[in-house]
């Protein structure tokens, strides 16, 4: 019974993560492309914060590897960045849960900055160059969109729990 409930609880997570992945590879017009938020990072942070048991950094790492293949970046680059962000979220999930939304948004800003910084750092070590807006753009839009993502995913979670 318990495992049943747990498996059922996984479904919305899987669906939202797949949607986040789709949004990640959706083509955007050139100008806006630099401002594509890190959908997957936002989604994973949310689920890691609220359902830490259903979530593990190994999944985050595998999803990151998936992004690496889809986007042709170094294997392990997004995996490392994503699992680091989820690791911090899991470590402080109890604290983050009691944050008011404004403070939580600031925390997400810090997490997204770390995420992009890791990508930037690895690119630097490997010798790939990209304009700085490619790194700051996603952090800005990601932070601005966090309240919306948060309330949307909260709604998803709320509704799925009502069903059980």
């Amino acid at each position: 019974m318990a495992t049943d409930a747990r498996n059922a609880g996984r479904l919305p997570i899987v669906v939202t993560v797949v949607v986040a992945l789709l949004l990640t590879i959706l083509p955007l017009p050139g100008r806006i492309e630099a401002f594509r938020p890190d959908w997957v990072a936002l989604t994973l942070v949310f689920w890691a914060m609220l359902l830490p048991r259903n979530w593990s950094i190994v999944y985050a790492w595998l999803i990151g590897l998936f992004i690496d293949v889809a986007q042709g970046t170094l294997l392990g680059q997004h995996a490392l960045a994503l699992s680091s962000v989820v690791f911090i979220t899991l470590r402080f999930h109890l604290l983050m849960r009691v944050f008011p939304l404004s403070q939580l948004t600031l925390t997400v800003f810090a997490l997204l900055t770390l995420y992009q910084f890791l990508l930037f750092w690895i690119n630097g070590v490997a010798g790939f160059e990209a304009p700085l807006i490619r790194y700051w753009g996603p952090v800005l839009t990601g932070t601005l969109l966090w309240p919306i993502v948060f309330s949307f995913l909260s709604g998803v979670r709320f509704r799925m729990q009502l069903r059980h």
Partner: protein
């Protein structure tokens, strides 16, 4: 509610979490180093690509459907207009082709005289660019042709006007390619007018190539057409690449500052042609001039 309470983690899990993270960091670093330095991980990429492909198809599908719908709902008038246009174009091309045939025969005779190897025409295959976002740092795209159809790494891609780019990674049913304007892309070219050979480097700007290795005394001027030279063996020779836009000779510098604009419509191309070189490898191309 029961679910969420059961999901609360206990502090006892934390050390295991840190250990796991440490392991993942280590694994990531090993993967990245191996991926950067060697090519052993292509197999792993191919395995994961099998899972990526359905997502790419899902993202591409609405765009494809839209294109199909637009195609299916053209009015008769529009079709008629297009037909007229194509008919005109065909006439002009045919006229040009007549002189081409004579030229080709002449070229062949001259090459025989020079005892150079005759150039065979390359086979092509049309591929569609999938509406999928491929790389966060730009200037690359995904096409719907993979190893199943014979695509290979380094294969040249052209459109109706000129060279578009080349394949850098193949999967079973799709391939990733970079444009010639990609900052890490360099292409051996020659000036069509006089056979002057040089390298055209990508700049990261969609409408500009850089020719960094031309001395101030080089015989090159704005308007010159650059074609692939075939040196290096990657690209077959003779495909148009770019038109020189500006030549800036700086007396105190060893090299002139030369820019060129790609002739292919890099930012609006939807279909590309894969070129299958007919003669194997660089040997056939090395007789440039």
């Amino acid at each position: 509610m029961v679910v969420s309470r059961a999901n609360n983690s206990t502090p006892a899990r934390i050390p295991a979490l840190g250990f796991r993270m440490l392991f993942l960091v280590f694994l990531s670093i090993v993967l990245m180093v191996v991926d950067h330095r060697f090519s052993h991980l292509q197999a792993l990429r191919k395995v994961v690509d099998v899972a990526v492909y359905p997502l790419q198809v899902a993202v591409d599908a609405p765009f494809r459907l839209w294109g199909w719908l637009r195609h299916a709902t053209v009015t008769r008038g529009e079709l008629q207009d297009k037909l007229d246009l194509l008919e005109n174009e065909r006439l002009i091309l045919k006229a040009e082709l007549q002189t081409q045939a004579a030229l080709r025969a002449e070229n062949q005779r001259l090459r025989e005289l020079l005892e150079a190897r005759t150039r065979v025409r390359d086979a092509v295959r049309v591929a569609e660019i999938m509406a999928v976002y491929a790389n966060p740092y730009g200037h690359s795209f995904v096409i719907d042709v993979g190893t199943r159809d014979g695509a290979f790494n380094g294969q040249a891609l052209v459109d109706a006007q000129g060279v578009v780019g080349q394949i850098i990674r193949t999967a079973l049913m799709s391939s990733q390619a970079i444009l010639i304007t990609h900052p890490s892309h360099a292409l051996p070219v020659e000036v069509n007018r006089n056979g002057l050979r040089t390298i055209a480097k990508g700049t990261g700007e969609i409408d500009r190539l850089d020719l960094p290795f031309l001395p101030n005394s080089a015989d090159i001027s704005a308007g010159d057409l650059l074609v692939t030279s075939g040196l290096g063996g990657g690209f077959p020779a003779g495909y148009p690449v770019a038109v020189v836009t500006s030549v800036n000779r700086i007396p105190q510098e060893p090299f002139a500052d030369v820019n060129a604009a790609p002739v292919a419509a890099l930012d609006q191309v939807r279909e590309v042609m894969l070129i299958f070189p007919s003669a194997p490898g660089p040997a056939a191309d090395a007789d440039g001039d």
